[in-house]
Structure formats: structure tokens, C-alpha cells
Symmetry: C2
Subunit: 147 residues, 2 copies
DNA sequence: TTTTGTTAAATCGTTTGCGATATAAATATT
DNA sequence: AATATTTATATCGCAAACGATTTAACAAAA
């Protein structure tokens, strides 16, 4: 009836679906590392800069601490990171990689980019398309993030 | 270290973030209808074609029945739809809108498109960009869906 | 017809995501 | 200094997602 309410006209439904399917494509690869996709995001943040407080990680991932804290607790239990009280500010929990967490980076590098390339080899998009897609997504993200 | 493992180079992280933020933007609007975003997707499927078995709804949303079934159970409890056993095939649950569910369409039409336009008015993308974005997302979705 | 296999939903357990609230430490105010 | 406010995390409850398994009905094969 109302074309505005049809699923096929919804950008949001496509984003929602594409995000889920890509996450699913990551899953068999990440299983080999013993982590989930959101946990992989945390690992990338820490590989880039180790020893960060919870808040910085959450901000980087555009998530709230009530999502990140339990995630970090599970990851600490798995032994890929540790949380220690901040020295200057005792409210902070500083999150640092363990040896196991640091070692995972090289294995991820061997597995993930190659594996995801394989998963997406049926996709007709070229590098240029992905770059433009990234920009378009960034402009959506930025206009919604600061509200 | 490895640029392939940097968050800023991840299309997937952008999809994941954009999908979450857009869903969050829908939330205050959908609250006025008393439903969540995934429930809204189910409503759109049923507004387009009423009285469908669970499987058809799941397929349309690219979800599994183990996600859709509890969703439908909650929606039935809220009184927007009913589930009845299929007549020819008694394994099927036929999902149909109630009067309350049908009435919601017009309110959604008044609220959602206008409200989301408002939410995204800071976004510089034009209609043409959204159309291309939709195509790009479709090609990602299609290459991952059939696996 | 009995057996075997397939299909449609549902159930179970775990991880996310998030609104709301709580706790404790740091900072600002009086 | 004592009080009030802000900030950093954590906790709680609920709704999604999803892999794995179960149940019941249908279909195909022996």
C-alpha cells in the first residue's frame, strides 16, 4: 500500500541484513581463533593500542560500557586480556592484552583477510566500490553518532 | 601493524555500526507504536502480504525460525498478530494480523518516514546515493546469502 | 503399510545490545 | 572540610540472533 513501508525500499533493512550476513561469514574464521565478532573488534582496538580503559574501547566501538564490560569479562575469562585498576584514576579498568592475546594477531592476519576475501569472492564490488561504500556508511554513522 | 586488521579499514565494522545506529534512530519512533525494530520488519512483511507461515516470514527477513518464532510469540502476546495452525499442512503456523496490527500501518505511515527523515537530515547523502548504497548492499547480501 | 527421510516449528543455551539503575571514585561547589 | 555533582564501570532485565537439538507432521521408499 504505502511504498515507504515496503521492505524492499528500506535501506535500514539492507544494513541490518548485510551486517548480520557478514558477521556470519566471519564466524567460521573466528571460531579458529576462539573468539566472536564483537570480541574480534575489541582485539583490533587493542592490537592497535594496548592498555586502554574500558571507556576508550567503548567509544572506539561506538558501544556503551554496559555492552563492553560483560564482553571484556568473558574475554578475560578466556585469557586473551586482563583488566587492572587504573593507577591515577582508580575508577578506571585498564584493559591489556595477554601473551595469548598478542599472539592471536599474527594468526588473525594469516586467517581473516584471506578467508573473508574468499567468502566475498562472489561479490561483484571492486575496491573502488568498497571505498565509496565506506564513505557513505561513514556519513550515515557520523550524522547519527553525534546526537 | 597490519593495516588489514585496523578497525578503520573494516567495511564490516561500518556496516555493524551503521545498522545499530539506524536501529537506535528508529527506537523512539517505534516506541510510540509499542514495537521494536525486528518486530517492525515483521509488521512490514505482513502489511505487504497477510497470513503467511513462519517460514515465509523468516525467509523474507533472511532469519532462521529460531529467531522468528520467539519474536512472533512476543508479538502475539502484545495482540498485533495471531498464529493459527495451517489447514492443509498442520505443521505450519499461519501468522495473521489482528485489527490492532492492521491499524498500526496507518500510524506507522504517519510517523516513521517523516521521523526518520528528520533523524537523517544531517546526513549529506542524496536520493541517488541511497539508491546506489542499496544496490551495493544488495550485491553483498546476495553473494553471502546463497552459500 | 511400515519404515525412512524430510520439513515446519519450537526449545535450549550462550552471546550481544541496550535502557535503566547502582556503586564508587574523582571533581566541583559551598 | 563537607556536600553536591560528575564520571567510570558494573549490574540487572529483556529482546534479539544463532548454533544445536527436539518434536510432530508430511512425503517417499521399501
Amino acid at each position: 500500500m504505502h511504498p515507504e513501508l515496503q521492505l524492499d525500499n528500506q535501506i535500514c533493512f539492507r544494513l541490518y541484513t548485510a551486517a548480520r550476513l557478514i558477521t556470519q561469514a566471519y564466524t567460521p574464521l573466528l571460531n579458529q581463533l576462539g573468539i566472536t565478532y564483537p570480541q574480534y573488534l575489541v582485539m583490533m582496538v587493542l592490537w592497535e593500542q594496548d592498555a586502554q580503559p574500558v571507556n576508550d574501547i567503548a567509544r572506539r566501538l561506538v558501544l556503551e560500557t554496559n555492552t563492553v564490560t560483560p564482553l571484556l569479562q568473558r574475554m578475560e575469562k578466556q585469557g586473551v586480556l586482563v583488566r587492572t585498576r587504573g593507577k591515577e584514576d582508580k575508577r578506571q579498568q585498564i584493559v591489556s592484552l595477554t601473551e595469548k592475546g598478542r599472539e592471536m594477531e599474527e594468526r588473525a592476519f594469516q586467517l581473516i583477510p584471506r578467508g573473508m576475501g574468499e567468502e566475498l569472492k562472489a561479490c561483484p564490488l571492486k575496491l573502488k566500490d568498497y571505498l565509496r561504500l565506506a564513505e557513505e556508511l561513514d556519513s550515515i554513522i557520523n550524522s547519527l553518532k553525534n546526537k
